[in-house]
Structures are given as C-alpha cells and as structure tokens.
Amino acid sequence: MTTGNPSYTNPKPCKHLADYKLNHGLSGYKSLQKHLKTAPHGKTSVGKPSTKTPRCISCDGFQGRLYFCLICSSVSCLDHNLLHTQSEVGHDVAVDIERAELYCCVCCDQVYDPDFDKAVMSKHIMGITGDKNGDESIGKRLVKRRRLGSGVVEELVDSKISKQLISMRDRRAKSCYPLGLRGLNNLGNTCFMNSVLQALLHAPPFRNYFLSGGHNHETCRKRSVDQLCLSCDIDVVFSAAFSGDRAPYSPAQFLYSWWQHSANLASYEQKDAHEFFISVLDGIHEKEVKSRNQNRDNGDCQCIAHGVFSGLLRSDVTCMTCGFTSTTFDPCVDISLDLDTSNFPPKNTANKSIKPDANSSMSTLLGCLDLFTRQEKLGSDSKLYCQNCQERQDSAKQMSIKRLPLVLCLHIKRFEHSPVTKMSRKIDRYLQFPLSLDMTPYLSSSVVRNRFGNRIFAFESGESDISAEFEIFAAVTHAGTLESGHYVNFLRLRNQWYKCDDAWINEVDEGMVRASQCYMMFYVQKSLYQKANEDWSHLPISPRRNMFGQ
C-alpha cells in the first residue's frame, strides 16, 4: 500500500469477468448506467426497467436476490442464475439489482471492476451536480490545497539539525535517563499546567524547534515592543528541562506570563488541561502573527504551534432528498471526541470477533473516532437549506480529516453539562486506546469513499503525503472528581514509560498506562517518533552548551 492516499488492492478479475470485458468492453456498463438509481445517502441500485416487478425467468420468483444479466438483461434469482449461463454461453456476469454489484454466476461470487465502479460513480455525480460528463469530483473544494510548512518550520523540526546543534550530555547528572526528563513543581493546583507542559516538552517536532533555537528568547525580546511572549517563556522552560539538572523545576515565570496572556481570554481561572493547551497554542500563534504583521488563517499559519498541531477537518452536509453535498474545511489544533458507548459499535465490521460482553461494552478510542466520523442525521427541527432543491431539507452531516497534523492531540470529552439541571459531572468511563494508531479510516478519502459504498474511484485525490500512522508519546490522565482532581502525565521515551506526577518522575510499565483513564492523548507521526527515539546520548559535548545556561 502506498503512503498517503489509501489505495485499493486492484482486484484481479476472474476469468469470466475478464472474458466479458474482452468481448463487450464497457458497453454493458454504459447501458446499465441509464437504469442505475442513486440514493442521497450514497447507495446505488438498479432501477426497474419497466413498472413490473422483476421476476426470475426460471422460477418467476421475485423474492431474495435478483440478478440482471449484463448481456441480455434477463433477470434471474440467486438459485437459478447458473441456469442462465448454461443456456446462454458467455452470459456469466450479472448485476445484483438491489446493490448494483457485479456478480459472476459461474464463480458464484461477487466480483469487482474499477470500470464498473467508475460508471456507478459517474451516475452519482451526474445526478447530484447535473454535470453531464460526470467528471467533477465528489464534493467541492472551497480552498486551494496547500502544502504544509514550506521550508522554515520543516527544517527546524528536523531532528538532524537539532542533533548537530545540541548536546545534552551532562556527566554530572543522571545521564542514562532520557534527556529533558525533569519533574515540574506544583505551584498550587497547577498540575493541569504541568501535565500539558510535559507533553509539549516531549513532542518531537515542537521540542526540536525550540532546542534548535527556533525561538531565541534573547533576540525576540529585543525585537518586540510588547514584552509578553509566550514562546520566549516556553523556550526558557525547554532550556531548564534539557539542562541536565534533574531537580524539579518551578515554571513560575511561565505561569505568570500565561496568566497575563489569558487575562485577555474569558477567564484566568482555567484549571482544565485542555483549555490550557488551547490557550498556550493560541498565545504562541498570536505573538507570531503580531510580530510578522500577518493575518493568515490558521490553515496556512507558519507559527510553530500550528505547524506542529494544526490539521484540517472536512465537514460534509448532505441533503437527504437530492444528495447534494456542501463541503467546508476548517483548521483545528486538536480533536475533541465524545465517548462512544456500547450503543455505537465500530463500523467496517469486516471481521469482528467480538469477545463476549466484557469487552463489547468497553469504550475504545477507535470507537470514538468512528463516532466522530459517522454520518449524523440532523433532526427534522434543524433542516438546512439545500442549494439544489432550493428549500430546507432534512440533512446529514459527516466529519472527516482532510489533513493530519504532525502531532495529533485527541481530547476526550469527559465533562457533561446538563442544561436542565445546570449540573456538571465527569464521565469516569474507561477508554481503551492503542499505542500505535492508524488514522487512515478517518481520513476524508476513506470516509467519503465509504459513504459511496467503497467504490473504486478517486474520491479525494492529492491528499497530503503525510502518513497516517501515529505513535503515542504522552497521555494526560485525570483522577478524581470535577471539583477536586489531579492530572498526571505519562511520557513514552525510547519505549519506556515514565509517570510525571508534578515533581515526581518514576518509571512505570506499559500496563499501568493502558489501564489509566485518559483525558488527552498525544500522538506523533510514526516516522518522527522513530527518529526521536534514536539514542542521543552518544553525542559529543558541543561548545553551544552554554546556550541552555544553568
């Protein structure tokens, strides 16, 4: 399988399909196209050629699966379609009327042909957009596709350069432990801040940027009039964490700066780790935008916060009457997920050997992602205006990921607020999560394709080449209640897990992390994870050592 755009295994045709194609080419498909019926929710079937109910030519039955011969258009039921091939030589390939799927009567199996799927999809396109050629791709692209990170950001997040510039080796300190591992003092209920800081300190591209001098707090202060710069303060925290000193560090200056920044936001009392995370990225971005006098939207932003964490979400709203879909794209720095309950089993049940009861009601991260990308029917009280029908219609909405970020932050909505009782509560439900995560099924190409029955067709061509495989490197967990709880971060460095509980850093085994109750999970692209795990401790001490001052 190639990276990027998920590709199909090109299905090898059976002998009979191959012969059919040889003798008849696409003519059968083209004439079938007239009869294809497309439904707004993406399914296709073969419409009745006349008003009569189709019946099997052998038994006159009309129930069960019926097949429409591609050559002579006669209809046979499942039991008798073999008879048809015996009486008419070469009439081996038929179409399942209800599902518009090719069927080889001799092999007694469903078969697949990209040309057939193309004919089906063209019919969909023609139906939806009125495009007679059926060439336009499904869904409109409202923004030009832009590649992430031209030049600067990419270079600085490349760990090769950081390795050359930096030495982390401090023979006095416990140098057998990973670099940058250092406890953070709790300054008074600041574990929400500490847990996120630990994740940022060890997010490979983010870390590489700061350690390579991507934001030099000395030159920055001189440049800007406004003394407040969150990136500078983060830079200071990085220096402290990677200095080699293992005594816990107090991020007091950072707290002070952040509170000054967030005084502009709705509230400075935020004690929620996710809120903190968003506001820190916001602070980094704002300063960047100001200093460069730019006003670009987040999708193209070159600031380190967006360069590392920003992805693009696609939202499709489909009219349930005509199938017309309106598509929008929005950048995001994280994805907030609702917990899936046992009411929502994962889709694509190609092979689900579900263990009885104990596990089938367990929430899983993949289940949450399935829920996130599931097509959701909007209620009849929220009909949306359809451009095609020119009136308000019942609609369905579906989210998918157009472009994945380098670091994917997944946030679990464990907070439930009832508008009726005005009470809030925490959802303590356990969530299973994988250490290796493949995001392919949640990409726009996969989701849109699935909506149309997984036909072989170029749905979203030219998606970014970023791979969809991720590895977890940090997990922020919350224990306790809404009113009084405690955040702890688990870091995964060189395949060893460390528990970062404010000032206390301890080794833990993987099982403990798996069993914990996660609130935010940080995944990084697998290639970056592997690079980051390469052993740095063999580097010689460089003269740049003083850069991180002690």
Partner: protein, 178 residues
C-alpha cells in the same frame, strides 16, 4: 424463516412476518456485500493489530485491578528515578516577579492570583477554545465552580459544530451566541 407455527397465524400475520423476513434478509446481505467488498479491495483495517491492542489493554486492566499487585498506582512515592524525594508542598523559594517578595514554590499560584489581583479582570471575550468550554474540570481551587458561558446549552454531542446553517463549520472556531 424458522420457528413460526403457521397453523396459529392468520394469513395477514403470516404475510407480514414473511415481509419482515425478506427485509431482514436483504439487510443482512447488504452487510455481507459491504464486508465482501472491503475484504476484496484490501480496505480492512489492521484488525490483528487492533485486537492485539485490545487484548493488551484488557490484560493490563486485570493486572492493575488485582489487589495483590504492588499498588504502584496510588502508593506514596519513596524516591523518584533520580533518587530524589520531594515534599508534598514544593519548597523551592524564589521571588515573585510581580511584587518581588520571596515566595515558596508550592504557594506561588495562590499568591500570584492575589498579587495580580484586580488588574486581572476577566473580560468575557470569545475565544477559540469554545469546544473546550463544555469540557472543563475545576481543580481543587475553592472559587472554581463557574461557567462563563451561560448558554453552553448544546449537548456535548453537538459541540463539534452546531447545526446552524448549510456549510457551517466545525467549531473550534467562534462560538455562536444567539
């Protein structure tokens, strides 16, 4: 269709259960057809890896729940991996950057809150973090139960984007006030 005692049913009941059976069969075949296509086109996910992850997580939970295992999870720490110990309240001392006083680390935040005091009035400005609004924990602080957005009424189910018009957006963007 098994298990129907036809003698006891009127012809209408028979007919309707037959229709039901046909519909059910059709739906089952739909699923089978989809799965067949997915399998043939190589679109199925890495189910082995997924199941392995599920298995490991289940095992881990069992182990952690077992009381005979060393209570790593909540035991008091003796030393950290660097061989250090730390007091419950961090006792490093430094100067407050706002007022200049010497403050103990573990008491810095509450001090700073008072110290920065009235100068830090919160303005109710809309932020980008509105999806997180519905997902906030307070944390131990006595003055923490509040909700700045009084109309955070949409259920967490829909906070990925309210249905307020065609082509509306995933709201990590602005929070629409009615």
């Amino acid at each position: 269709m098994s298990g129907f005692n036809e003698d006891n049913m009127g012809s209408h009941a028979q007919l309707s259960s037959q229709f039901f059976g046909d519909l059910l069969d059709s739906i089952i075949v739909d699923v089978a057809s989809e799965c067949h296509r997915i399998a043939r086109l190589g679109l199925d996910r890495n189910l082995e890896e997924e199941e392995e992850e599920l298995r490991l997580s289940a095992q881990a939970r069992v182990r952690v729940a077992d009381p005979s295992n060393s209570g790593e999870a909540n035991s008091k720490y003796v030393v950290d991996i660097f061989g250090q110990t730390h007091p419950p309240v961090a006792n490093e001392i430094f100067d407050c950057m706002n007022c200049g006083r010497s403050i103990m680390a573990g008491r810095f935040a509450p001090h700073l809150e008072k110290c920065m005091g009235k100068g830090r009035k919160a303005r109710l400005k809309v932020t980008r973090s509105s999806t997180a609004v519905q997902n906030r924990y307070s944390q131990g602080s006595p003055v923490s139960t509040y909700s700045p957005y009084s109309n955070s009424t949409s259920t967490s189910r829909l906070s990925n984007g309210t249905s307020s018009g065609a082509g509306e957006e995933y709201s990590n963007g602005t929070f629409q006030e009615p």
